[in-house]
């Protein structure tokens, strides 16, 4: 048995998806190696090796997580979903009370004993998508019903999104959108969806208004306001606030068609979060618009492969989970790139699997593991059918 067949037997599921995962990991290693320069200067006097080794270890561990995740039957995730949701709510509440402030946002929870920090919203996102997928899957027969289907699904969605929104509005909005799209695909009646979108917008507006009146109640409201103001009126923004986004623009412009080549980025030195939020612009600087388009293409391909899963899935839960997770990856990628391109205010969303980031990378990998589990199952089904 040669190596490729061995790998083929070990890695079940869509080969294309596996390839995408490996390609993104490789891109991540190369891009982070270059982009971490600014961070490395600030924290370790310019030595990048420590960062790149740590990132490599996390990515390697993440691949193991995907592998293990895909070994499990995805139906298990369905069973775990409700309890995960409860844990998610508890964690979110805990974070609001005991969480660590980073850049003024209370998003991080430290696991006692081992000192590992993670964003509780990452976990909540996963839990909610699993829960919504399960709910949609189990209520397919009565899905058009308001009381029996819509309300039981939407209440946890609103609850979780609100809790996340307190500290991380962009993640909350993204998750909300993912859930809505899941519901649309899951055949929920469209009139309820429109109602929901209106509700979402009004709730957010109220939050901002309350926040500006009582800053203590919604501590992030000021940041939201500022970011939105900055976005709509760049001239009014302070130079410092525009610094990051200007840096990203310069980086992209430096890139041109084919880029300045690996390791030759200049803006990586000046961009504060080049290795996380702004890695896309560094990729474009080094590999050009071509590189950027390829990255967009890879994420798009990932989503197309996920849709292929959805269409071939015989079980509604599998289809919905795959759709939800795939969509959330795609949306996060698009939002991140949109920020890089000055199309959206700075959100703090990373480029999935490419940006450097400890636990958030691992949660991405858990998502991918579940996705691959679904893929493995569908492949087995089609193999049986034929």
């Amino acid at each position: 048995m040669n190596l490729s067949t061995r790998i083929a037997t070990e890695l079940r599921g869509d080969r294309v998806l596996w390839a995408i995962i490996f390609i993104l990991s490789l891109v991540s290693m190369v891009a982070v190696y270059s982009a971490v320069a600014n961070l490395a200067y600030r924290n370790s006097g310019g030595a990048v090796s420590g960062y790149i080794i740590k990132h490599g270890v996390i990515l390697g561990f993440g691949l193991v997580v995907i592998y293990i995740g895909h070994l499990l039957a995805y139906t298990k995730y369905s069973r775990w979903a409700p309890s995960m949701l409860v844990i998610a709510i508890l964690l979110l509440l805990l974070t609001q009370v005991f969480g660590t402030d980073i850049n003024g946002a209370r998003r991080w929870l430290t696991v006692p004993g081992i000192g590992l920090t993670f964003q509780s919203s990452d976990f909540a996102k996963l839990a909610l998508i699993l829960f919504v997928a399960r709910a949609i899957g189990s209520k397919q027969d009565i899905i058009k019903d308001f009381k029996e289907a819509f309300v039981p699904i939407i209440l946890p969605v609103l609850g979780i999104c609100l809790l996340i929104a307190l500290s991380d509005l962009s993640s909350a909005i993204m998750l909300f959108v993912v859930c809505i799209l899941m519901m649309i695909v899951g055949r929920v009646a469209m009139q309820y969806i429109f109602m929901l979108i209106l509700l979402g917008i009004s709730v957010f507006s109220i939050l901002v208004m309350v926040g500006s009146k009582y800053p203590n109640l919604v501590p992030r409201a000021a940041t939201w306001e500022k970011r939105i103001e900055t976005y709509f009126n760049p001239a009014a923004a302070k130079v410092d606030d525009r610094r990051q986004i200007t840096g990203a623009m310069i980086a992209i412009a430096n890139g041109g068609v084919i880029g300045v080549g690996p390791g030759n980025s200049t803006q990586r030195h000046t961009l504060y979060s080049a290795q996380s939020d702004f890695i896309y612009s560094i990729i474009v600087e080094e590999y050009g618009a071509l590189g950027g388009v390829i990255i967009i293409g890879i994420y798009l391909l990932l989503f197309v492969r996920v849709i292929r899963l959805v269409t071939r899935s015989s079980k509604a839960f599998g289809a919905m989970v795959a759709f939800g997770l795939g969509l959330s990856l795609l949306l996060q990628a698009f939002l991140n790139i949109a920020v890089n391109l000055d199309l959206l205010p700075v959100t703090g969303l990373t480029l999935p699997l490419i940006s450097m980031g400890g636990t958030s990378t691992l949660f991405t990998c858990v998502s991918l593991g579940i996705l691959m589990s679904v893929s493995k199952y569908i492949e087995a089904m089609t193999a049986d059918a034929s």
Binding site: I250, A253, T266, Q267, T270, A289, I296, T311, A338
Partner: protein, 707 residues
């Protein structure tokens, strides 16, 4: 239901794809291409302000004296600023008290710790006003101070963690302070460049480099790894002919002189006779109208060109003797020291001249008779001959010193409108010509040097990284200014001035020197003004083997006389005396005299010490020693007509016995054994007192009684 479940799902998915996903992806692609390709130039331009090319100043070279003392060097200092927003809140507020205390103690004790604490709090918490990320702590601290400040709480977190911003600057330091300040000079970034710093600015400055910097945000600029940078080249070192000791002597003497006489300014130059190397160049100008404070502000020695007066008579005599027109014993009628040439009356300044008619040329020079000199030149030269003679002696040529700002000399001649019938007569006594002190000295130095005129110079070589990149040799301007016989006569005249003439009060028994006094009225054209004089003395010493030539010029002395012999002469003497005393080579070694003879009763006894030294001393006083022991230390004891040396080794004793030793040997023995020595008195160790160690035993401290 028209469509089944699966179809409904598919329709919705494709609707989402078509309505949301694909348009968004297209938008992202479009925007990427738009920024990166279509509007590339517009955005690239934004990036330029994030990068800048900075000039990296090269380290400026040093200036050294003749004896390798550092005259000017660049030392780094550091300016300190503080960004109060960098440190984490916990670090900041926890350490604010101790930081305030340390700031108050070490950085600015004008504020109490409490005041510092308040301003530290204000800096960070103040909501009004613009946040200051660049609070000035101190303009200049030394490296050692910086090392201590870096250890302060908060600051010890570094630039990124604590917010202490350190910027390196370079300051020019002159280890000898004001010594030769004007000759060393200075070079300002833009503007005045004077002295050696100015003249050698290019080699000292080196070549500045270029470095590309990028902005990290928060005002932090860091060098990029762009290799297309230019490394700065360190400036070369300039080694001068200046001698710190002679310069010090010269400046002190000159300052004493100008203060004593409340002069406008004074200049003194010391030149090495053989080479023309300038060993000292002092310039002191009054900085206030009461003339009690002087400073090196202007290089009078090279930039002030005045009518020299009687010191110029040396040139007159050189012309007369060289042309064979007179000899030293030729006679001249000085007409009681008063003579009218055409409409202008010339008088001798010495009252002695009133009683003299016919005297020798030698006397006329030594007594500095104006009438004598003027009559000789007026009668023996015609037309332009005299002026031409002076020009043959290079008196109209610049000295060519390396410094900027040398004033060209002036010698009147027939080609000029101002040349008149009386010009020759007045030129003979040092008027109608203008020379700087340095130009006059160059001429005197030629006479001292046996007729070989040397170009004065200040810089011997320029070295970079220890390698000589340019060396300046002594330059001969004129190998033979005049016949050797003429020079010999001139030297004897200058010696005569000191032995018998106008400078005889300056004579000293220590050494012989030669020179000429000079007094010139500077403002004779302004009839009704108070007369201003310039007193000068030029000469060399020792007379029999001229080593240094010196000129002293003092402008407008207002107190205590104005004659060269009264004002400039004593300054010359003070300089010469002190240089002479420090010239080891001219002094007789003390141990070359007859050796002492020791009588038996004077033979040393119980004298202990380092054997080779004892042997040397005994040999010197002719005391024979039979045999030398092989040890390091020895004991001398008298033995009949001679002495015996026996080896000793006190270090082996439990308590070393150093009696009979000099302190140096005793210290060597005792301290090597770990004892602490407390000497009392001077001479040889006659007694030792061991201190108790507190337990009734002898301790480690020992008192030595020396007598």
């Amino acid at each position: 239901m028209a469509v089944n479940f699966k179809d409904e799902v598919l329709i919705r998915i494709f609707a989402i794809l078509a309505v949301i996903i694909v348009p968004v992806a297209a938008l992202l692609v479009y925007r990427t291409v738009d920024i990166a390709v279509v509007r590339q130039a517009e955005f690239k331009e934004l990036g330029e302000e994030r990068f800048r090319i900075v000039t990296v100043q090269a380290e400026r070279g040093n200036i050294y004296s003749h004896n390798d003392n550092l005259l000017a060097t660049s030392v780094p200092y550091f300016s300190l600023h503080f960004d109060p927003y960098v440190a984490s809140p916990r670090d900041y507020y926890d350490n604010i008290d101790s930081l305030a205390l340390l700031l108050s103690r070490h950085i600015d004790d004008g504020h109490t710790p409490g005041a510092w604490r308040d301003s530290l709090l204000m800096m960070r918490d103040s909501v009004s006003g613009v946040a200051n990320h660049y609070f000035k702590l101190k303009e200049s601290v030394s490296y050692s101070e910086l090392a201590r400040i870096r250890k302060f709480p908060i600051f010890n977190q570094g630039r990124m963690g604590g917010g202490l911003i350190v910027e390196k600057r370079a300051a020019r330091k002159r280890p000898f302070g004001w010594l030769a300040r004007r000759t060393i000079g200075y070079s300002k970034e833009e503007g005045a460049k004077v002295g050696l710093e100015g003249a050698f600015d290019e080699v000292l400055a080196g070549e500045s480099g270029k470095q590309e910097m990028f902005n990290m945000g928060n005002g932090i600029w860091l060098p990029t790894d762009n290799l297309a940078i230019v490394e700065p080249t360190t400036g070369a070192n300039v080694y001068t002919t200046l001698d710190v000791n002679i310069q010090d002597i010269t400046e002190n003497a000159l300052e004493n002189g100008v203060r004593r006489h409340r002069a406008e300014w004074g200049a003194a130059i010391v030149m090495d006779v053989k080479t023309g190397a300038i060993r000292a160049m002092a310039n002191l100008g009054a900085v206030n109208s009461s003339r009690n404070r002087y400073a090196e502000q202007y290089n009078y020695a090279i930039s002030r060109s005045n009518e020299p007066g009687s010191t110029f008579k040396l040139a007159t005599m050189m012309a007369l003797l060289e042309d064979g027109l007179v000899d030293l014993d030729s006679e001249v009628d000085i007409e009681n020291g008063v003579k009218t040439f055409y409409d202008l009356t010339m008088e001798d300044s010495s009252p002695q001249s009133r009683g003299w008619r016919i005297i020798s040329v030698r006397d006329a020079f030594e007594q500095s008779s104006n009438v004598g000199m003027a009559k000789l030149v007026d009668s023996l030269y015609s037309g332009n001959e005299f002026s031409q003679r002076l020009k043959d002696f290079h008196l109209d040529a610049e000295s060519g010193i390396e410094l900027e700002g040398e004033r060209a000399p002036f010698i009147n001649d027939t080609s000029r409108n101002e040349f008149s019938g009386i010009s020759k007569a007045w030129m003979a006594i040092g008027y109608e010509s203008r020379l700087t002190p340095l130009q006059m000295l160059t001429f005197y130095n030629a006479v001292a040097n046996g007729g070989q005129m040397m170009k004065p110079y200040l810089v011997t070589d320029i070295r970079r990284d220890g390698r000589v990149i340019e060396a300046y040799k002594p330059t001969v301007v004129d190998r033979r200014l005049a016949k050797p016989a003429t020079i010999e006569k001139l030297q004897s005249l200058l010696e005569g001035v000191v032995d018998r003439g106008t400078a005889k009060r300056l004579k000293t028994d220590q050494y012989r020197f030669a020179g000429k006094t000079g007094t010139s009225q500077q403002n004779y054209s302004q009839r009704n003004r108070k007369k201003k004089y310039q007193a000068s003395f030029a000469g060399y010493f020792p007379a029999e083997n001229p080593t240094y030539s010196i000129i002293v010029v003092v402008k407008d002395p207002t107190v205590g006389g104005y004659y060269g012999g009264e004002v400039a002469g004593p300054i010359f003497r003070e300089i010469a005396d002190n240089i002479y005393n420090s010239m080891i080579e001219v002094h007789e070694p003390l141990n070359q005299g007859p050796r002492p003879v020791l009588y038996a009763s004077e033979l040393p006894s119980r004298d202990a010490g380092y054997l080779p030294e004892l042997a040397t001393v005994l040999q010197y006083v002719n005391v024979s020693v039979d045999s030398l022991p092989g040890s390091e230390l020895a004991l001398v004891s008298a033995q009949g007509e001679g002495v015996a040396l026996s080896s000793i080794n006190p270090a082996e004793q439990k308590f070393p016995n150093v009696r009979g030793m000099r302190l140096r040997d005793a210290l060597y023995v005792l301290e090597n054994e770990g004892y602490v020595v407390h000497p009392r008195g001077v001479g040889r160790v006659v007694n030792m007192r061991w201190q108790s160690d507190g337990r009734g035993q002898r301790g480690k401290d020992v008192e030595l009684i020396l007598r």
